[in-house]
Amino acid sequence: MELSAYLAVAALLFLIGLVMVAARRNLIYVLMGLELILNAANLNLVAFNRFRPEGMEGHLDGQIGAVFVIILAAAEAAIALAIVLNIHSLFETIRPDDIDTLKD
């Protein structure tokens, strides 16, 4: 398969993640959408690493960047879920629309 096929899949995945973050009324869905977005970026990184230009045969920088993204996504998921649990015990809800103490 050529590079653009992988890029199209990654773009679709990014779009689905974006809709998930923007449209669902549940903080857990927001987290899942974030994971989808990060995964789409990862797929782009690995695909570009596979189709790298001439003279860069030995380089694996794209894959290493993807490993760092996975590391940071793991840390982000742990912290974000801790924050969600805290929000739940403080506000008794995890709807992002209801958490508006700072609004007025």
Binding site: L3, L12, N26, N39, F51, R52, A73
Partner: protein, 170 residues
């Protein structure tokens, strides 16, 4: 031929499960649909000759982050009465924006990177990635910083998630 078939299989698995996760009303089913997406991405990594990354994807995403999300689901109440109209409006807006970006990309110069030739796959990437991580003039500093970040994340998550607001009913 086999590679093309495998690509379409993984593409269908990834996108289909992601759509299912997006559209399903039950959040537990959405989380399990996300599992299909993450495993499909691991398959893509195998197709792209990134064996170490495929293993890492299965271990950390499918094994770790998904379990974390399921725990988050179990510890929080389900959200009922989502307003459908606003949701559909936002979805249409985002998809429209994405379609515009997609079209621009498809017809424009950004996409011409696709003309590159696929290079011969290396025999395995585990050894090379390990050496890259520990070479001083390459990725050593980010690698060590990542361990510091993980430690800080671990301590921070435990600190934030501890029960500070005692509820009367417990």
């Amino acid at each position: 031929m086999g590679e093309v078939l495998a690509f379409w299989f993984f593409a269908a698995l990834t996108i289909g499960c992601a759509l299912l996760a997006l559209l399903h009303r039950n959040v537990v089913n959405s989380a399990f649909a996300l599992l299909g997406t993450l495993l499909g991405l691991a398959g893509f990594y195998v197709l792209l000759a990134a064996d170490f990354l495929a293993m890492t994807q299965v271990l950390i995403y499918a094994g770790g982050i998904l379990v974390l999300i399921l725990f988050g689901l179990m510890l929080t109440p389900p959200v009922t009465n989502e307003r459908r109209f606003g949701r559909i409006l936002v979805a249409v807006a985002v998809v429209g924006l994405g379609a515009v970006a997609f079209w621009e990309k498809a017809r424009g110069a950004v996409w011409h990177a696709a003309a590159r030739e696929e290079l011969a796959a290396p025999a395995g990437t585990v050894r090379e990635i390990g050496l890259e991580f520990l070479r001083r003039d390459s990725w050593l500093l980010p690698f060590e910083l990542a361990s510091v970040v993980l430690l800080a994340g671990l301590v921070g998550a435990v600190y934030i998630a501890r029960r500070r607001f005692p509820r009367e009913d417990v």
